[in-house]
């Protein structure tokens, strides 16, 4: 017979890693399913967390499920560790899990990111968690979730190709800037989250596991290691990343990486590395510190 003691537990102000065990169990099952079907959106309950929806709650739930006390966690927003929301999330993760915080890509075991993949190559012992505002790549052509699910089931992506073609005809190029629709493992088209086109090739045949999670839309999906990620492109119009290969960072002097444009009073612009962790390391190295910088996906602006 079930007793009251079995139904309850001693009072604690908060579970380890904030989420209670039923939420974590559900997430782990859904994560395994997502890894088993690369690029396929898996619905999950998506519990409320102490942060507003749209502010990284999907990424947060996945990271909270994966964290352990020995984890080393890095959180970036737009490539920057010092963004206020990144700082807020990183502190929360460390507080509820006991994990160590870092801004060094090479040192981290889990990297939660909004809108960027770090420039340094990630290893097979690292996990990238991308925050996703809109998981459905078909949303621009099909508003209904129910209909879009059917289209995914049928691998019916004709209308996505069509809008890319229309952009070509109208403007002479594909205008899709970020969240570039990409075919995963030759089967499901996914939105790689609003990372720039610069970052999408980093997911292709990567050594690391990428988990993408949309808390508000309650969907998660995955790109397992060594999985093909191919941006939709025409055979005569190759996929094209941002024209940043020739830009130089005004702070660190590094060039050939994705840059932020900083408008200047004189009407011109300066550029600085979007990957602030890499920028910091380059600055410290320039100041004479012995800071190791990992190999980067792009070298001299070429992948």
């Amino acid at each position: 017979m079930t007793t009251l003691r079995q139904l309850t537990r001693p009072w604690r102000p908060m579970s380890y890693g904030f989420l209670d065990s039923s939420a974590k169990r559900e997430l782990r099952r859904k994560l395994l399913k997502a890894i088993a079907i690369p690029g396929c959106q898996i619905p999950y309950a998506s519990r409320e967390v102490p942060m507003a929806r749209g502010w990284g709650t999907g990424g947060l739930q996945v990271t909270l499920t994966l964290l352990k006390p020995s984890s080393v966690v890095k959180v970036i927003d737009q490539g920057a560790d010092e963004g206020v929301n990144a700082v807020s999330i990183r502190h929360f993760l460390a507080k509820v899990s006991g994990a160590r915080e870092t801004i060094d890509t090479c040192e981290a075991t889990i990297i939660q990111s909004r809108h960027r993949v770090p420039e340094e190559v990630m290893r097979n012992d690292q996990i990238l968690v991308l925050q996703v505002p809109e998981p459905e790549p078909l949303r621009p052509v099909e508003h209904h979730i129910s209909a879009a699910r059917q289209m995914h089931a049928d691998a019916d992506y004709a209308r996505l190709w069509l809008i890319l073609y229309e952009q070509m005809v109208r403007t002479g190029r594909i205008m899709q800037a970020t969240e570039y629709p990409s075919l995963v493992n030759g089967r499901y088209v996914m939105s790689p989250s609003p990372i720039p086109r610069w970052d999408v090739p980093k997911l292709h045949m990567a050594h690391h596991l990428t988990l993408l999670s949309a808390g508000r839309e309650k969907r998660l999906y995955a790109v397992p290691p060594f999985t093909r990620v191919e941006p939709l492109a025409f055979c005569d119009v190759p996929y094209r990343v941002e024209d940043h290969a020739h830009l130089t960072c005004s702070r660190s002097g590094l060039n050939g990486y994705f840059m932020n444009e900083v408008p200047q009073d004189d009407g011109g612009s300066l550029f600085e590395l979007s990957d602030s962790g890499l920028c910091q390391k380059a600055l410290r190295r320039a100041a004479g510190e012995d800071v190791p910088i990992g190999p980067t996906w792009y070298r001299n602006g070429v992948m």
């Binding site: 908060m14 209670d20 929806r53 700082v87 505002p133 129910s146 002479g172 594909i174 024209d243 979007s274």
Partner: protein
């Protein structure tokens, strides 16, 4: 030196919260208690949207957020989600509700009678400025009725079913633990009946009203008549592991049944219920429920549309998230736009050359 920027973010966060809280001053149990007693209708609205019946915690959330309703709902939901689900209560039976207010617009009088209960519906909305000048506004005591209304009332729909006016659907006997729970499963479409009603129960009052009102104004096919509206208290009946069913306490609930005016063979009913007393929400929600089956694909009165867009925590959070930096996406867009402009300019200059001279 290298970490200064990261610490700067931390300090900015801390100080911004201090600035916000400076305006609220000291928050103590006395203030929470006063807010709970002074604003019972707001507390009810928040409990409904948070899907957590806890008046004291709702008053605390309201106090802590300084009255920002979406913030208060998020506080409660984030607390709620960490709590274990110990038991599933017995279903509420209409006849067992303790009724405070019960009205029907469909008939002049109904079995069990119309009970006006607590309402300001027929009050004159005059601002009592004399209170600001020192006058106290002590409500006059309620005079007891010579014939008190019975505490329990049959539902009007049961009379209508007996008359054959409303289809009496066969009751599905689903084990309590198998009832889908929206707080533990994602909402998928088409949604189960349980998910639709749960979703409406915790929907944003303002959002449900806006869409429900649009239906009422003629954008939806079915116009509502309030078949029955109830404000009551329900016993939360729990089965003890030994099998005894006991009441763990009472919660305020609202229910509305909305009938279609366009009945041909049978009267269609829409239904909405929520925790706490919140009449606007259940009338609008019932109207949306009533219209959903006739809604054309893509219209705002389709279930997928109104359930997706009246979720208070998701909607408010997403609106606010646009304050977050988006400079990477913006940079990427600029790159494509500048290149397209170069291409257009090149094309235009070529076109000029090709033009035959006059």
């Amino acid at each position: 030196m290298a970490y200064v920027a990261a610490r700067g973010g931390e300090r900015a966060i801390e100080q911004s919260q201090r600035l916000y809280r400076e305006r609220l001053g000291t928050i103590d149990a006395a203030r929470v208690d006063e807010i709970g007693r002074a604003l019972p209708w707001l507390v009810d609205r928040i409990m409904g949207e948070a899907s957590l019946y806890a008046p004291e915690l709702a008053a605390l959330a309201l106090t802590q957020s300084g009255g920002d309703l979406y913030e208060a709902v998020l506080l409660l939901r984030a607390w709620r989600t960490t709590q274990p689900r110990l038991a599933v209560a017995e279903p509420l039976i209409q006849d067992k509700l303790f009724i405070h207010r019960r009205i029907s617009a469909a008939f002049k009088d109904i079995p069990g009678g119309q009970i006006l209960g607590p309402t300001l519906d027929y009050s004159h909305r005059i601002l009592r400025t004399d209170i600001l000048e020192g006058a106290a506004f002590d409500p006059e005591p309620v005079e007891r009725s010579a014939e008190p209304a019975p505490p329990h009332q049959p539902s009007l729909a049961s009379w209508q079913k007996a008359q054959g006016l409303v289809v009496d659907f066969a009751r599905e006997d689903i084990p309590k633990d198998d009832i889908p729970d929206l707080t533990r499963e994602p909402l998928l479409f088409p949604a189960s009946r349980a998910h639709r009603l749960q979703s409406l129960a915790r929907a944003d009052t303002g959002g449900v009203m806006a869409l429900g009102y649009a239906v009422m104004r003629g954008y939806g096919p079915a116009h509502p008549t309030v078949n029955e509206l109830r404000l009551g208290e329900a016993d939360v009946e729990i089965a003890h592991p030994r099998g005894t069913v006991f009441s763990a306490g009472r919660v305020r609930v609202s229910q509305a049944e909305v009938a279609s005016k366009a009945a041909i063979e049978n009267i269609d009913l829409g239904f909405c219920a929520t925790l706490g007393w919140n009449e606007v929400k259940i009338i609008a929600g019932g109207t949306l429920d009533l219209n959903a089956q006739h809604a054309t694909k893509g219209s705002p009165f389709e279930e997928e549309f109104f359930l997706s867009h009246t979720e208070p925590v998701e909607g408010s959070g997403f609106c606010l998230h646009f304050k977050l930096p988006h400079y990477v996406t913006f940079q990427s867009m600029l790159d494509a736009m500048r290149d397209a402009r170069r291409k257009q300019a090149a094309k235009a200059s070529k076109a000029v050359v090709k033009e035959p001279a006059e």
